[in-house]
């Protein structure tokens, strides 16, 4: 049983007011709030530990390096990776996908195919479009079913010997659908294709075990799991990462540089050119510790209770239509109300202190699929409460009343 009051007490921002009202934060799919431990770790690095990593012989450089690498080890354990050098630090999920897409381009030939899905975030679409443009490969798309799940039969039809890579999201940021990625990965591997999973919405909500999952690449962002912005992870199997050329050139990623030729460093440094977000990476460990102490499964169970409650309450509002209605869903409710624009709803509930997201959620193909301008989205985190769901539902009712 989680002590939600004790959890909430760790998040200073939850005490603030917005527009004169207590903040009710339901935009966790965009970014989560940060516990004091993360804020302290970031500040403490600058106050007491600041030095560049992997470079200096002096005390502070050694300390910063140790703490930076400690986060890598923590993440290795958190996602069940085989080696710690399979954890690459990036700027975020988008950066991780671009890293793989940029490298994979050099491995592709004309006639090769990449498969993504209709529910992808733009950051798991555009890098592959660019990759295909530059390599002559073709992009194929797994369509969505009406309930917001993927059409796996159609995926079977798309797969062929030409498929070189499949990149799909673990959880849809706009629909909440949890994809059956185990099946997708197994099917793709049958054709010898590599698989990349966008885990941005999943990493703090689903227990991960890379060795069991068998994904070739998996990526996520620290800021969506109580950590700092500007830090992300690319996990890749050792051989899959080694097959990619370096992403960016610079310091740290080299073994030896001369004008007759440069040799590159081993993993993970090969993909970590330049000075990284050291403070962010160090503070990221505190975020992982926060999740681990509560337990991902315990978090997921609590969030699911809130999801079920919020879903049943919102369904009581006349004219509500929820997008993404599969059984296997994460804590995201994307909805519209008949005759109302999601933006109008968002504007009014904001005035009542409730933060939700409105718009296309960087998933315009989903909006086109359902022929809507956007949705209003409630996304849940472990510090949310039933009482907050009630405040949110009442705010939506008020918006409906004002707009109708």
């Amino acid at each position: 049983m989680l002590d939600i009051n004790k959890i909430r007490a760790q998040f200073p921002i939850l005490n603030r007011k917005v527009n004169g009202k207590e903040l009710v934060y339901f935009d966790n799919g965009a970014t989560t709030q940060k516990p004091q431990t993360v804020i302290d770790a970031e500040a403490n690095y600058y106050a007491n530990e600041n030095a560049n990593i992997h470079r200096g012989v002096h005390f502070l450089s050694g300390l910063a390096t140790d703490k930076f690498e400690e986060t890598r080890n923590t993440i290795q354990a958190f996602i069940g990776a085989k080696h710690n050098h399979e954890i690459i630090f990036t700027k975020g999920t988008t950066d991780s996908i671009n890293l793989v897409a940029s490298g994979f381009r050099t491995l592709l030939n004309k006639g090769d195919e990449i498969i993504i899905s209709e529910m992808e975030h733009h950051s798991n679409i555009v890098p592959w479009q660019m990759c295909c443009e530059q390599s002559g490969a073709k992009l194929k798309v797994i369509p969505l079913l009406d309930n917001g799940s993927l059409d796996i039969n159609e995926f079977d039809n798309l797969l062929s010997e030409n498929t070189k890579l499949v990149s799909v999201t673990h959880i849809s940021n706009a629909l909440g659908t949890i994809n059956d990625i185990e099946t997708i990965i197994a099917k793709a591997h049958n054709f010898g294709a590599k698989v990349m999973i966008d885990g941005a919405q999943a990493a703090s909500h689903i227990a991960l075990d890379m060795q069991k999952l068998d994904a070739d690449f998996y990526c996520f962002s620290a800021h969506k799991m109580f950590g700092p912005t500007g830090v992300g992870v690319l996990y890749g199997k050792e051989d899959s990462l080694n097959a990619l050329p370096p992403y960016q050139g610079g310091g740290e990623m080299i073994k030896e540089v001369s004008f007759s030729g440069t040799t590159y460093a081993e993993l993970p440094h090969k993909f970590e050119a330049g000075t990284p977000n050291i403070a962010g990476v160090i503070a990221f460990k505190s975020a992982i510790d926060f999740i681990t102490e509560l337990g991902v499964e315990t978090i997921a169970k609590y969030e699911d209770e809130l999801l079920q409650y919020a879903t049943s309450e919102i369904r009581k509002i006349e004219g509500v239509k929820i997008f993404g209605t599969t059984q296997n869903k994460s804590g995201i409710i994307s909805f519209n109300i008949d005759g109302l624009h999601p933006y109008d709803i968002g504007m009014i509930v904001d005035k009542l202190g409730v933060a939700i997201r409105t718009g296309h959620h960087c998933t315009q193909p989903i909006m086109q699929r359902f022929n809507i301008p956007g949705t209003a989205r409630i996304s849940i985190a472990v510090y949310n409460t039933k009482a907050e769901v009630d405040v949110c539902i009442n705010a939506i009712k008020k918006a409906k009343q004002m707009l109708s």
Partner: protein, 138 residues
């Protein structure tokens, strides 16, 4: 014809009667509902101001030396704000529109009431209205 300045003063006075944001929003929503809709033929890609959140179609034509605006939006509050702008600018001379000081928007607290994204939308709406006036000036 009332001058652009008179209309702005009227609007400021109307907004002064409201005690809180809710009344203000309700008024804007009502204005949005009352706005005469744009003719379907003018809802073209060229007339579209694309925002991140809502869409606005704005059409302008010159009648008897004056600029007449019609507009629509898929979001009602956006439509209400366009209605206010149309009330001020539509039916005025191009030169008046181009040089119009629209500081009443700050006075009635629209800018502060609206989120940054919406405020940006407001700016692009005004810009487009002034650009039409500029095009019709000669």
């Amino acid at each position: 014809m009332e001058t652009l300045k008179d209309i702005q003063t009227e609007i400021v006075e109307e907004f002064e009667m409201f005690d809180d944001w809710m009344q203000k929003y309700e008024y804007i929503i009502d204005l949005g509902k009352e706005l005469a809709t744009i003719e379907e033929q003018y809802k073209t890609e060229d007339n579209l101001i694309k925002g991140c959140q809502s869409m606005v179609w704005l059409h302008a034509e010159k009648q008897d030396g004056k600029i007449i605006y019609t507009a629509d939006s898929d979001a009602i509050m956006t439509k209400g704000i366009i209605a206010i702008l149309i009330r001020v600018l539509s039916g005025q001379q191009a030169t008046e529109i181009i040089s119009a000081d629209l500081s009443f928007i700050d006075t009635i607290g629209l800018k502060e009431q609206l989120s940054v994204t919406r405020a940006n939308g407001l700016v692009s709406m005004i810009k487009k209205m002034k650009l039409y006036a500029l095009a019709f000036q000669n």
